[in-house]
Symmetry: C2
C-alpha cells in the first residue's frame, strides 16, 4: 500500500514540471504516460481501469488529505491496486500540474490503457449480437470529442472509433469532457480505409450521419430507420454510425464509402443541431430500439 509519506510542496520541481508537461501530445508520446484531471475522471479511472493508473496526486498538507471526497478516492485506489502510488501535494503543486485538477490528478500508462481497450474491442466483436459502433471522422474539438464519447457510453455502444485525423483522445480536455466515459468504453483510432475494411470484416454497413447526402443519394430519415430497427428481425442487428467533422461534416469521398445515409429531421425552423447533440440523439434513439 504505497503512500508516499513526503508532502510535495515545490511547484517548480522537476517532477511537477514533468507531470504538468503530459498535457502536451509530444510529452505523452515520449513518456508513454497521460494525465487524468479532477475528482470525477480520476474516480471513474479508479473504478474501471485502476491497473492503468501509476500515480495519484492529491491535495493535502502534513496532516493528510484535504477533503473526504479526495481521501475516499485515494482509499478506493489503494483498495483496488497494489501497484499505484498516492502522493500528497500542496494545492499550489496540484494547481501547477493542472489548473483543472480540482484537487486531484492521476497519471496513467498509455500502453496499458490501449491494451485494455483492445481486449474490450475483441470481446465485443465476438458477441452473438451485432457490434454497436459509434465512429467520428476528423473530430477536432476536445470538448466535442469528450461529449460524443460520453453519449456513446450512455447509449451502450461497444466501441468508439476516431477515424482519420482526430484530436488525441488522451488530450486532458477530452478526458475531462467524457466525465469518466473514457474508462467505460474502448476508444480506438484508425485511418479511413482501415475503418471501412474493419466494418466490412465485421459484416456491418456503415451509416453516415449527414444532413444533405449526395446528389445521387438523399438521406433516409432517422425515425424511418428506427421503425425498421424496431422490427423483431432486426433487434440483434449491430450498427456503425459515422459522424463527420463538427464544422464541415463528412466529405464526398467518405460519404460514398458509406452504405447508408441517415439524417435527423428538423421539425421547427432550426437548420441543424451540433455534433454532440446529433450523436446523442441518433445513438440513444437506436439504443431505445434494442
Amino acid at each position: 500500500m504505497p503512500i508516499n509519506a513526503q508532502l510535495l510542496d515545490n511547484p517548480r520541481s522537476d517532477r511537477v514540471r514533468r507531470i504538468a508537461d503530459l498535457s502536451r501530445t509530444k510529452a505523452r508520446r515520449k513518456n508513454g504516460r497521460f494525465l487524468i484531471e479532477g475528482p470525477q475522471a480520476v474516480r471513474e479511472a479508479v473504478r474501471y481501469s485502476s491497473d492503468v493508473i501509476t500515480d495519484i496526486y492529491v491535495a493535502g498538507d502534513e496532516d493528510g488529505i484535504d477533503s473526504d471526497v479526495l481521501a475516499d478516492i485515494a482509499q478506493r485506489a489503494l483498495d483496488k491496486s497494489a501497484d499505484l502510488y498516492i502522493h500528497t501535494a500542496t494545492r499550489e503543486v496540484i494547481d501547477h500540474i493542472s489548473p483543472d485538477a480540482q484537487g486531484v490528478v492521476a497519471v496513467g500508462d498509455i500502453d496499458k490503457l490501449r491494451a485494455g481497450m483492445k481486449a474490450e474491442v475483441e470481446k465485443a466483436s465476438s458477441y452473438s449480437r451485432g457490434m454497436r459502433v459509434a465512429a467520428f471522422w476528423q473530430v477536432r474539438d476536445p470538448g466535442n470529442a469528450g461529449t460524443v464519447i460520453r453519449a456513446a457510453d450512455a447509449a451502450g455502444c461497444d466501441v468508439v472509433v476516431f477515424v482519420d485525423d482526430c484530436v488525441d483522445m488522451l488530450n486532458p480536455k477530452v478526458i475531462r469532457s467524457t466525465t469518466g466515459s473514457l474508462f467505460h468504453i474502448p476508444v480506438i483510432a484508425m485511418g479511413t480505409n482501415d475503418f471501412f475494411d474493419w466494418m466490412k470484416e465485421q459484416g456491418l454497413d456503415v451509416w453516415a450521419a449527414d444532413v444533405y447526402g449526395t446528389r445521387k443519394r438523399k438521406p433516409e430519415s432517422l425515425p424511418d430507420v428506427l421503425d425498421h430497427m424496431r422490427g423483431e428481425d432486426h433487434r440483434k442487428d449491430g450498427y456503425a454510425v459515422l459522424f463527420g467533422n463538427e464544422a464541415r461534416g463528412l466529405n464526398g469521398k467518405t460519404l460514398e464509402q458509406c452504405q447508408r445515409i441517415v439524417s435527423i429531421p428538423m421539425y421547427g425552423k432550426a437548420e441543424s443541431l451540433n455534433l454532440g447533440t446529433s450523436a446523442a440523439i441518433i445513438l440513444m434513439s437506436l439504443a431505445f430500439t434494442r
Copy 2:
C-alpha cells in the same frame, strides 16, 4: 431605406457605450432594448422577426460594408422592414460593442419581441392538436439556456417556458447559443405556480424529466413512454416536459406537482447526460412519434 451615411468610428462615443451596455440586464430593462450578436443570430432575427429590430451595426469603412455575408444581411433587413436603420461602423467600434459580434450586431425592441411571442403562444394554444411545451426550471447557465431553446426549436415544440428563477433569455450569450432559435420559437418566463396553473388550463399533464424520481414514484423509462405515444390514439396528444436545473435537477416540491416522471435509461456505464443533451433526446424522440 434608412442607411446612416456617416461611418461610426469612435469606440468611445456615448452611443457605442450605450449599445455595449445592453449586455447587462439592468441596461436592457431600463432601455427596453436588447442585443443580437453575430451573423447567424442577426440573420435569423431579420428572417423571422425583422419588425423587432431597430438598428443594425455592421463592420465597414468609407467604401461600404466589409464582406458579402454582412452586406447580404443588411440588404435583406432593408428589404424586410422600412423601420430599421443600418449603420456602418469600424471593426474597432463593432468589437467595442461586443467581442462576439463577428462584424455585426443588431439592437431589438423588447416589448415588440414579447408581443410577437405572446401572439405565437396564443396561436399555439388554439391548435386542434395538443400543445407541445418544453419547460425549464431554474436553468442558470446562458450556454445551456441557448442550447435547450435550439433543441426545442429543432423538435418542433410550440413554446419554451423558463420557469422560476432562470437566466434572462435576452442575455446575449443565451441568444448566441440559440443560433437564431430565439427568433423561431416563443420563449416565455413565469413562476412555478403560474406554470402549473397554465398547463392545467391547457389540459396538459406535466412530465418531469428526472433521473431519480421520489421515494413514492419511480420514473417511467423514456422508451416505454414513446411506445405509448406512438399509439394511434395519442398522435395528437400534446406534452409538457419540465427539465430541472443543470446541477441540482428539480426539487422535491416541484417534482410532486408533476403528473408523471420520465427518465432516460443509461445503457452503458455513464451515470447521466447533461441538461442540453437530455432535453434534445427527450424532445426529439417525442417529435419522432408524432
